[in-house]
């Protein structure tokens, strides 16, 4: 995978089929009705039952609407995935306007993968990987891939400005 910064945002290039599949799973994970995912994305917040009930009635519905709207935004952006010539690999543009929505969506997807695969903090350490099942290892790889995208969007990787346009980059 390569990354380029263009005027509109970041372009992620040479995305493999596995990476594309992982990205296409992001909105589905946000929308998951699995109890484990819902418990993590909409956690118990207050100690007293009446305070928690107040929270569930007043704060949670708005959060649910926000998550669904984010899932829709991400799904629409993924519809613009472009196939690169010859290689069969893909490229995705994440615009500056959508960066914050993507950051949160990627975080939600990573958390969902974590709880859905019964992962633990130990699994997330380098030495814990070998002790994970094959399914868990696949989930860890997906979580790491999504973390790489997050890190780029957070500006944690040095990505040089590219004077080329998105079209120039993906049509090369």
């Amino acid at each position: 995978m390569w990354v380029a910064r263009v005027a509109e945002g970041y372009v992620f290039g040479e995305l493999t089929a596995a990476a594309v599949e992982t990205l296409r799973g992001v909105p589905m994970l946000i929308e998951s009705t699995d109890e484990r995912v819902r418990a993590r994305l909409l956690p118990e917040t207050c100690i007293e039952p009446e305070d928690e009930q107040h929270w569930r009635e007043h704060a949670v519905p708005e959060l649910e609407r926000l998550f669904l709207s984010r899932a829709t935004l991400v799904r629409r952006d993924l519809e613009t995935l472009r196939k690169l010539p010859d290689s069969g690999l893909h490229a995705l543009l994440i615009t500056h306007e959508h960066t914050n929505a993507w950051l949160a969506a990627l975080n939600a997807a990573r958390l969902a993968l974590y709880v859905l695969n019964d992962l633990t903090a130990e699994h997330m350490e380098t030495e814990g990987f070998s002790g994970a099942t094959q399914k868990q290892q696949e989930a860890i790889v997906r979580i790491s891939l999504l973390a790489e995208l997050q890190a780029v969007l957070l500006g944690e990787f040095e990505v040089g400005d590219d004077e080329a346009s998105v079209e120039d980059l993906v049509d090369e």
Partner: protein
């Protein structure tokens, strides 16, 4: 006019009493092994408007101690902040400040 003034005075007294009796609430962020540290810092800056250094310090407290009280104040505002933090998927809880 006098009756109105008396009612207004009573209301002001009630409001002061309620305000002084209302306990502040803590907004607490808990550690999780998935969320990136840089992301947590960014969310603190974005939600509270904290300086990068303060946001980083709070993030490190979450990471090292497992939790950090990131804001304390009136319940309504505490709820608003908790909702914003949860909108970014930080593991957040609310608790009344005990005497």
């Amino acid at each position: 006019m006098r009756a109105h003034a008396a009612t207004q005075e009573q209301t002001e007294t009630d409001t002061r009493a309620k305000t002084s009796l209302a306990k502040p609430w803590n907004v607490i962020v808990h550690d999780d092994p998935v969320t990136l540290m840089g992301y947590v810092t960014k969310v603190f800056v974005r939600v509270f408007g904290y300086a990068e250094s303060k946001a980083h310090k709070l993030m490190m407290e979450v990471h090292k101690k497992g939790r950090s009280i990131v804001w304390t104040g009136a319940r309504e505002q505490a709820e608003m902040y908790a909702q914003k933090l949860q909108s970014h998927h930080l593991l957040t809880s609310l608790e009344k400040v005990e005497d």
